[in-house]
Amino acid sequence: MAKNIKLQIYEILEATNAEDKNAEAVNLFLLVLVILNVFAVVIETVSDIYSAYRVVFQYFADISVVIFTIEYGLRIWSCDVDPKYSHPIAGRVRFALTPLALIDLLVILPTYIMLAFPTDHRLLRSLRILWTFRLLKASRYSKSLKTIMDVIRDQKRELAMSFSAIIFFMVLSSTVIFLLEHDAQPERFPDIPATMWWAVLTMTTVGDNFYPITPLGKIIGGLIIILGVATFALPTSILTSGFVEVLEERRAEEARLEESEEDGP
């Protein structure tokens, strides 16, 4: 009996079965709680609002932490259902060391330490922002999140390549610009790392009050802009084509399914 309940709790909390309505409800509730908490952390930094609703914020944070503590306890208790963590102690320890479990612990623990020293620990409570990572779990329920993950996984190699091309280009161009501009603007371009900031601002086309002034610096800078903007935009276009590919595959699969249904008995 206890084993059965344990299994059920495990399946609900780990959302192993996407069809299970109970699991979906529980996880949706937790998800909304996470979003509200993140929202609260953000809003709390506006001092007018915080001083007016201080008590509300504190209670909300404490209640959320209690709920997630219960959830954390249940997950640790039930995790030995999974064959991966089947050992009662070693398995549980290994489960507690998975990234998501560690994040939970990192958020929960400071709150209880705070209870021992009751002052205004807004900063510690803002650790709740880490719960955002729990949204990753929602990818089991959300098709669009799953698509994004699929695209990133498919284009892993291409993305890594374009990022290394970007870094290569950035290092090279900031060195050249540093060489050309350092003497003219020693404050703006004091060293290469500072010039890299210029390179990033320029090639992402953000642009700041921070630019070459010498003639040669402008000529080379212009070339860097033309080439660099294209290089920096590569990940965007790779992701775009990856999306198109994944969506097309999905559509083809759906078409094939329909076809086989028509063929079937």
Binding site: F168, P193, I226, S241
Partner: protein, 294 residues
């Protein structure tokens, strides 16, 4: 090594040195079993060198750790110099450079070998011309070492392949951009020169505005203020942004194409019989067809 030496002990010194040369050649050539340890070592060294060049320009860091930077540079140059000499020595193993003198000279003229030379030469130059300004510029020249990565980095190779594949389109677009730039800068120069004789001092100066604006960077150091300047500027920007974005699209398409080809090639390699090296792709396809017909 020992095994090699023992096997060749009765074949004389020349044959032995030939075998050592072959082994050295194998180790230096990237991407095979021989270079399993050498490749990561040299890549790590190159990357550390780049980090060192970048960090050295930060004055406070350089002052504190200058002796470490110097020691690291000496070590790297020693390694890279030995590597370069060994490469020139062993290149005759490649049939393209098999002639001991002319082959070696031709090898030394290849882009990769020139980069290798450029990576170490700046270190030795100050010993010959001890000029201080020169030395500072030479220190930065060490950044050429980053180009040595091209030999190992698949991504750089791919990037070069993409540029080669899309060369014509890219050149065409580059010219289109230059033409748009010249036309728009001349027009805006005409409109703005009188109102802002300093910012729009000449057409080349106006071209700086053109590039910064068309690439949507917008530093805000120069911008039109007259009515005509603003009007022409807006039209140019609306037309030009699309044109500036074109190379991105071409590059992305090129990337997709090159990588698709690479994947296809890898798939073909997998379809080769591991014992006799015969291509089994057609067989696999016909098997698949047979199964489907069933």
């Amino acid at each position: 090594m020992e095994r090699l030496n023992m096997a060749n002990s009765n074949r004389g010194l020349l044959a032995m040195s030939q075998d050592i040369k072959g082994r050295v050649f194998g180790i230096l050539e990237p991407g095979d079993e021989d270079s399993k340890y050498f490749d990561p070592f040299i890549m790590g060294l190159i990357m550390l060198n780049v980090v060192a060049v970048v960090l050295e320009t930060v004055h406070s860091i350089y002052v504190t750790y200058s002796h470490i930077f110097y020691a690291f540079d000496v070590f790297s140059v020693a390694v890279f110099t030995v590597e370069y000499i060994l490469r020139v020595w062993s290149c005759t193993k490649d049939y393209r450079f098999r002639d001991p003198v002319r082959g070696r000279l031709r090898f030394m003229m290849t882009p990769m070998a020139l980069i290798d030379l450029m990576a170490v030469l700046p270190f030795y130059v100050p010993f010959i011309f001890p000029d201080l300004r020169f030395i500072r510029a030479m220190r930065l020249f060490r950044l050429f070492r980053i180009l040595k990565l091209a030999r190992y980095s698949e991504s750089l190779q791919t990037f070069i392949d993409v540029l080669k594949l899309k060369r014509e389109e890219l050149i065409l677009m580059f010219f289109a951009i230059i033409i748009l730039l010249i036309v728009s800068s001349s027009l805006v120069y005409d409109a703005e020169h009188e109102a802002q004789p300093e910012a729009f001092a000449s057409i080349p100066a106006a071209m700086w505005w053109g590039i910064v604006t068309l690439a949507t960077v917008g530093y805000g150091d120069v911008y039109p203020i007259t009515f005509w300047g603003k009007l022409i500027g807006s039209i140019v920007v609306i037309l030009g942004i699309g044109l500036f974005a074109l190379p991105t699209g071409v590059l992305a398409a090129g990337f997709a194409e090159v990588l698709a080809r690479k994947k296809e090639k890898e798939k073909m390699e997998k379809m080769r019989c591991p014992h006799c090296g015969r291509y089994l792709g057609d067989l696999a396809i016909s098997l698949d067809k047979g199964r489907r017909e069933k």
